[in-house]
């Protein structure tokens, strides 16, 4: 017998897509039954009360969660989101319902041993509900009481060799695409760069010292599967400088209809036979390809590496061998001054495991120094860039201006010349001037 009537939520049990309501119900039942005699450290009916308060929100169209209180684990300024409900008497099981962010492994591969242990811990010391995963990338352990925060942290660090992720005005948990682990497009080892920088910047991740949040994301190629270009303050996107590798026999096989284009991604509809002129050559944004006499030619110097031809014929074309990444800065969601896409700062840098990625870290640390010096409270890097201009970011990072930095040159001539750029400087003698220019 359910603790609360949930007629609105119940309507979300039907339909084919996996129902979170059904899942919550099975968790509520599992806790009530407690077949394994778990000595629950948070109320046994926590999930019932969560469904109860969600039903109330469905009914009255508003949230019932209050602002986060200041809770956390000793010495860290992030990783825990305090949460209290505004109807504690009706739903005591979720009166205190704090979230813990657990730093996911790069690539989000898991062994079942690890996951089962984590499930045991969270059933025992939390609600038994998670998000796999949060938007930023962490494993989200959803809902526990204040007293359990240190206990969970102690268990994670001692028994799981596992740390918390970021929240607040600090480095947020970095995340990456699947990369070279299982993708032929990846131009660098996203998992290793993500993991290495996460470890190197643990202090920045756990102890808020920034004007506001700061996100890193790592995409192995310009397809941008983790959307780094749209949602990270610094976005690292794999790219290459040399020639797209062509297997001419495989190109012929695509043309002959022996291999399905787009890796079979269009198989749900009959689009007619593959037409390389129309589907590849004609859609190339730089018109740098041609197919004549059974041979595909690419003028690589004019290629902007959009990935379309490679995505369409993955068995015939591969990114080049001289690989690295581009670094873009300042992406963010609309709050406050409108959405921003990442702007290109470093067109190409080698992703050099041997150096411990020092070339990349030099850029990161120069950007941080600038932002921490100039950024206002709650000002994202992108907003600072807009307020002060892209040229300030170039000055701060010592990167020379180049045409790759802009879509087009400026529309106005209001250039803020610096004194040292103008011959003879700005100090002049008005008395001398007046000798030739009467008042």
């Amino acid at each position: 017998m359910a603790k609360h009537e949930t007629p609105l939520l119940d309507q979300l049990e039907s339909g084919p897509w996996p129902s979170f309501v059904s899942d919550m119900k099975q968790e509520a039942e599992s806790r009530a039954k407690n077949a394994n005699n778990v000595d629950f450290q948070v109320p046994v009916d926590v999930v019932d009360d969560l469904m109860g308060i969600l039903e109330l929100s469905f009914k009255d169209g508003t949230t019932h969660w209050k602002h986060g209180g200041i809770v956390g684990v000793f010495g860290y300024g992030g990783g825990v989101i305090g949460r209290y409900c505004d109807q504690p008497e009706k739903f005591p099981g979720v009166a205190h319902f704090h979230t813990m962010r657990v730093n996911q492994p790069s690539g989000k591969f898991y062994t079942t041993d690890y996951l089962k242990k984590l499930c045991d811990l969270w059933e025992f010391r939390g609600s038994g509900l998670t998000n796999m995963h949060g938007s930023t990338g962490d494993i989200i352990l959803l809902g526990t009481v204040t007293k359990q925060l240190e206990e969970v942290f102690f268990e994670l660090t001692h028994n799981f060799n596992q740390d918390l992720g970021g929240s607040g005005s600090n480095l947020r948990t970095p995340s990456d695409c699947i990369g070279q682990a299982r993708c032929e497009y990846a131009c660098y080892d996203t998992q290793d760069l993500c993991h290495t920088l996460t470890l190197d910047y643990q202090d920045e991740l756990h102890r808020p010292a920034f004007p506001y949040k700061f996100k890193f994301k790592f995409d192995g190629c310009p397809n941008c599967c983790v959307a780094s270009i749209a949602r990270s303050d610094m976005s690292f996107i794999g790219t290459w400088k040399d020639e797209i590798r062509i297997d001419q026999d495989a190109v012929k096989a695509y043309v002959a209809g022996e291999i399905r284009p787009n890796a079979g991604g269009h198989q749900g509809r009959d689009w007619g036979p593959f037409d390389i002129q129309k589907e590849v050559i004609g859609l190339c944004p730089t018109e740098c390809m041609r197919y004549e006499n059974g041979k595909l030619e690419i003028n690589n110097k004019e290629c902007t590496r959009c990935m379309h031809c490679i995505n369409t014929m993955p068995r015939a074309l591969r990114p080049g061998k001289q690989t690295g990444c581009s670094i873009l800065c300042g992406a963010k969601a609309p709050i406050l001054d409108g959405a921003q896409m990442g702007s290109l700062l470093v067109p190409f840098v080698e992703v050099n495991k041997e150096s411990g990625y020092q070339e990349i870290k030099d850029v990161i640390e120069a950007v941080w120094d600038y932002w921490m010096e100039e950024g206002k409270n709650r000002e994202r890097l992108g907003e600072l860039m807009k307020r002060q201009g892209f040229q300030k970011l170039l000055e701060a990072t010592g990167i020379p201006a180049m045409p790759q930095h802009v879509q087009e040159p400026r529309h106005n001539p209001y250039i803020f010349w610096k004194e040292e750029e103008v011959e003879g400087g700005w100090e002049r003698d008005v008395v001398e001037y007046r000798k030739n220019h009467l008042r």
Partner: protein, 381 residues
């Protein structure tokens, strides 16, 4: 419910304390076929919706079966995922950026038993637990935020509208009939923890009533200067108010200047703005993050407001289904939704989808607004 210690001593928090160890090393969790072929993959192919093979230069193959699901997940369900992974995948499993779960096997004969097992499992309520799909030119899982389940600023729920939308789009999760892949995202307020602003279709929670001012408690619970400076339109200013004969420090909101961002509420709990009639959903369309063919694009507002209709958000899901179907019928192969809308022109987009164009859809927010007006005589009647 007796308290059981982990070993942590609250009197002595630094004793045996371990900090700053970061996440587990990714390589601990690679299945053998991944570990041995990392960086050696040659190509991939989608065998059927949800099933992909990757082929390595060593000759090894890995078959990935992708299943969708709710990102809100119980430990009971995760244990079931583990049971499946133990049975079919030697104890390895992976999640994607878009909340899908991937089961990997190293030979083709292991695929069908795995798929059959996954598709056979249903919740007591009748929905699939592990529907296979979400690949290629179709619709994959919706990335989303917390909504009413756990957040203090949402203007809509997240899990509810996502479930309702994916039920409506389920056929396209199981198919690859679209001109290109189509990404749907949801953020429950314009803070956009879900970064939905570059999605083919974005479902965005939005408030429409300015904050109320809880004068009696404001100065006790808030830093007034922070609340004032949080407002992007300078709509909040300090004000002295009389409450029960006492003069209190508080603030005044210039309601006509409010853009309903809720940033003040984030800084000050005494400025709540959520409201049953005021809150609802904005539909944005035509964004993308990939650099394929055209540059990444922001989503544009196509529908200024739809009400929150729990539990199934009928108008919202019908609108989304309409946009998907019109796009599917009209766009060219490889064309993303935003590329299609730009090619045919946005005036045609509104024609073809039958969506009413209202003044709300003309940008009047700061600098970027001007660049969205039409500065040419080229347009379609």
């Amino acid at each position: 419910m007796a308290f059981i210690s982990s070993g942590y001593d609250p009197e002595n928090p630094m004793k045996d304390r371990i900090t700053d160890i970061g996440p587990r090393h990714y390589s601990e969790f690679y299945p053998p076929v991944i570990k041995e072929n990392k960086g050696k993959w040659l190509y991939h192919e989608l065998l059927s919706p949800g099933v992909t093979v990757h082929v390595s230069e060593t000759g090894d193959e890995v078959y990935t079966v992708k299943v969708g699901g709710a990102r809100l997940m119980s430990v009971t369900l995760i244990r079931e995922i583990c049971e499946i992974a133990d049975k079919h995948c030697d104890g390895y499993v992976r999640w994607t950026t878009r909340n899908n779960v991937e089961f990997m096997v190293d030979s083709k004969d292991k695929v069908q038993p795995l798929v059959n097992d996954l598709e056979s499992r249903k919740f007591a309520g009748g929905s699939y637990k592990f529907p296979v799909g979400g690949t290629g030119a179709g619709i994959t899982n919706i990335v989303h935020t917390q909504g009413w389940i756990h957040c203090h600023t949402p203007a809509t729920d997240a899990s509810g509208p996502v479930k309702a939308t994916m039920d409506v789009l389920f056929d396209d999760f199981k198919d690859m009939r679209l001109p290109a892949h189509l990404r749907v995202s949801l953020a429950c307020c314009l803070n956009m923890c879900g970064a939905v602003h570059c999605s083919d279709i974005a479902i965005l929670g939005f408030h429409r009533k300015p904050p109320m001012v809880d004068h009696e408690y404001l100065d006790k619970m808030c830093e007034i200067p922070l609340a004032i400076s949080a407002c992007p339109t300078a709509a909040i200013k300090p004000k002295k108010v009389e409450v029960d004969g006492k003069t209190l420090n508080s603030v005044e909101v210039n309601q006509n200047r409010c853009m309903f961002c809720g940033n003040c509420y984030t800084m000050c709990p005494c400025l709540p703005l959520s409201d049953k009639e005021g809150d609802g959903i904005v539909i944005m369309v035509g964004g993308k993050v990939s650099n394929r063919i055209s540059a990444p694009k922001f989503s544009k507002v196509a529908v200024a407001f739809l009400p929150n209709e729990a539990p199934r958000w009928g108008q919202t899901t019908a609108m989304i289904k309409n946009i998907v179907d019109v796009y599917a019928a009209d766009a060219r192969k490889y064309e993303r939704l935003g590329e299609w809308a730009e090619r045919i022109g946005w005036e045609r987009f509104f024609d073809k989808t039958g969506i009413e164009f209202t003044h709300h859809l003309i940008d009047d927010f700061r600098d970027p607004a001007y660049y969205t007006w039409r500065q040419t005589t080229q347009f379609k009647f």
